[in-house]
């Protein structure tokens, strides 16, 4: 298993962003769905070792990121695209991807080719020498994806990766995810259920910091059939049905 979380919790002051999440993940593409404020980003940040958990255990790629040495090893094998991508406007696309390749301790002799491959993978080959400040929002997002995949990570964490991408690019991106999922663990946090339907083998639904569903996309669709839940697509209806059930169950208990 590349990801093993046991009762993982994260608090920000009085707010519990992640409340006792337990899950395991091996190779494949896993979707992380949930409404705004469900804790998806906090969970991803903990898996990216950018945020320490408040309690619980976390093992990534067979290592405990609590120790500096194992954490560094994890980061060499990690790819992370945050929801709000920061960047240096004066860098070119190639500079930006190279910068993070170097930060990930990639062997220098591999960097140039890896950067070129990553940039081609996201379809920015003709923009490699363009400064980031000149790119559209979608292109910036793709540059962000490129830096995440440049080191061929074993654990790839993507938060809203398709924001700003046009439909054609989204289709290609899903194919890229499936390709990476053959050998790596890819966790995609997204609001777009069609991304989950097209690329993910399993999906997890979070709400108020807790896991309220896990299973295959088909199982999620099944939860929505006949429930009368809102949604234009089967997966959306399943999503709404699960959320409604989770919230009414909590309301009943309280």
């Amino acid at each position: 298993m590349n990801v093993e979380l046991t009762e993982l919790t994260r608090r920000f002051g009085h707010t519990q962003a992640v409340a006792g999440v337990t899950l395991e993940a091996g190779p494949g593409v896993f979707g992380l769905l949930g409404p705004n404020g469900a804790g998806k980003t906090s969970l991803l940040r903990m898996m990216a070792t950018a945020l320490p958990p408040t309690s619980g255990t976390l093992r990534l790629l067979g290592r405990d990121p609590g120790g500096y040495g194992p954490r560094r090893e994890i980061r060499r094998r990690l790819g992370y695209l945050p929801q709000n991508l920061g960047y240096y406007p004066g860098f070119t696309v190639a500079d930006f991807v190279e910068y993070f390749a170097l930060l990930k301790d990639m062997p220098p002799r591999r960097v140039a080719r890896a950067v070129a491959t990553a940039i081609e993978h996201v379809g920015l080959g003709d923009k490699a020498r363009s400064k980031l400040r000149t790119l559209s929002g979608g292109m910036l997002r793709r540059a962000g994806i490129a830096q995440a995949i440049v080191n061929e990570p074993e654990l790839l964490l993507l938060d809203e990766p398709t924001a700003g991408l046009d439909p054609e690019q989204r289709v290609a991106f899903r194919a890229l995810l499936r390709e990476f999922g053959q050998r790596s663990t890819v966790i995609v946090s997204t609001h777009l259920v069609e991304d989950v339907a097209a690329a993910c083998t399993e999906v997890t639904l979070m709400d108020t910091g807790r896991l309220v569903f896990h299973g295959t996309p088909d199982e999620l669709i099944a939860r929505g059939e006949g429930s009368g839940a809102a949604g234009d697509a089967p997966l959306e209806r399943g999503y709404s049905a699960v959320l409604a059930a989770a919230r009414s169950g909590v309301a009943a208990r309280s």
């Binding site: 999440v21 709000n84 997890t204 009414s248």
Partner: protein, 225 residues
């Protein structure tokens, strides 16, 4: 992927917060001030005043005659101008620019208000001590150097506007040391000198008008300020 302990979520979001009391324009002005970090700027301006007080009461001077006595006060004046220039940076970018007609008034009001606050804090800091040139020269210097900072903000952006006041201070220091008396370096002119006052006012008003009408130069916004 396996998950254990699937929980059911709590009920939905709570009710919307109650509307805040007070006139809307006051609320807008306050939000604008906070977005420009004006409270922090006021603290820094007070710091400039404190520094001036220390310089005058502890007799911090550099040897070299009357001209050299102005160097410490001039640092506080230029520093205050740099703080005011730094507040011109806005974190919102295009969404803010695409709003109605209130933004120029906000820019004008905050800039003039902070300039007045800078002059006020420095005036307080100079009480009980000998301020070379007096309050008139200090006000002239603050306004003029603030104008330099505003012009830099229009050209370079709010985050780099500090380069103008610093460069102007170095220029003034050189002019004082070498006896240059061009009115464009007004700190080197006598306190009630008309030429120096005109030049300082001209620079301030030009910077103020440009900031009010055009705002600062924006290429890429910082995510935090």
């Amino acid at each position: 992927m396996t998950a254990a302990g699937v929980h059911q979520a709590a009920s939905g979001a709570g009710s919307a917060p109650a509307a805040r009391p007070g006139p809307a324009w006051l609320r807008l002005a306050w939000l604008y001030l906070v977005s420009r970090r004006a409270p922090t700027a006021l603290v820094l301006l007070a710091g400039c005043g404190a520094l001036l007080w220390a310089a005058l009461h502890l007799h911090w001077t550099v040897a070299g005659g009357p001209a050299a006595q102005m160097l410490f006060p001039l640092v506080t004046e230029a520093g205050a101008a740099a703080v005011i220039a730094a507040t011109t940076y806005g974190p919102f970018g295009e969404p803010e620019r695409a709003t109605g007609r209130r933004l120029p008034y906000l820019r004008l009001g905050v800039t003039v208000g902070l300039t007045a606050a800078a002059i006020g804090t420095l005036a307080i800091g100079s009480t009980g001590g000998y301020l070379p040139g007096g309050l008139a020269a200090m006000a002239r210097n603050v306004a003029g150097i603030t104008g330099v900072g505003l012009l830099c903000a229009v050209v370079l952006g709010g985050m780099l506007a500090w380069t103008g006041p610093i460069a102007y201070w170095v220029l003034a220091e050189g002019a004082l040391a070498n006896g240059l008396t061009t009115p464009w370096v007004w700190p080197a002119r006598p306190p009630l000198d008309r030429g120096g006052a005109i030049c300082a006012c001209l620079v301030f008003v030009t910077g103020l008008v440009l900031i009010t009408v055009r705002g600062v130069h924006e290429s890429v916004r910082d995510t935090t300020t």
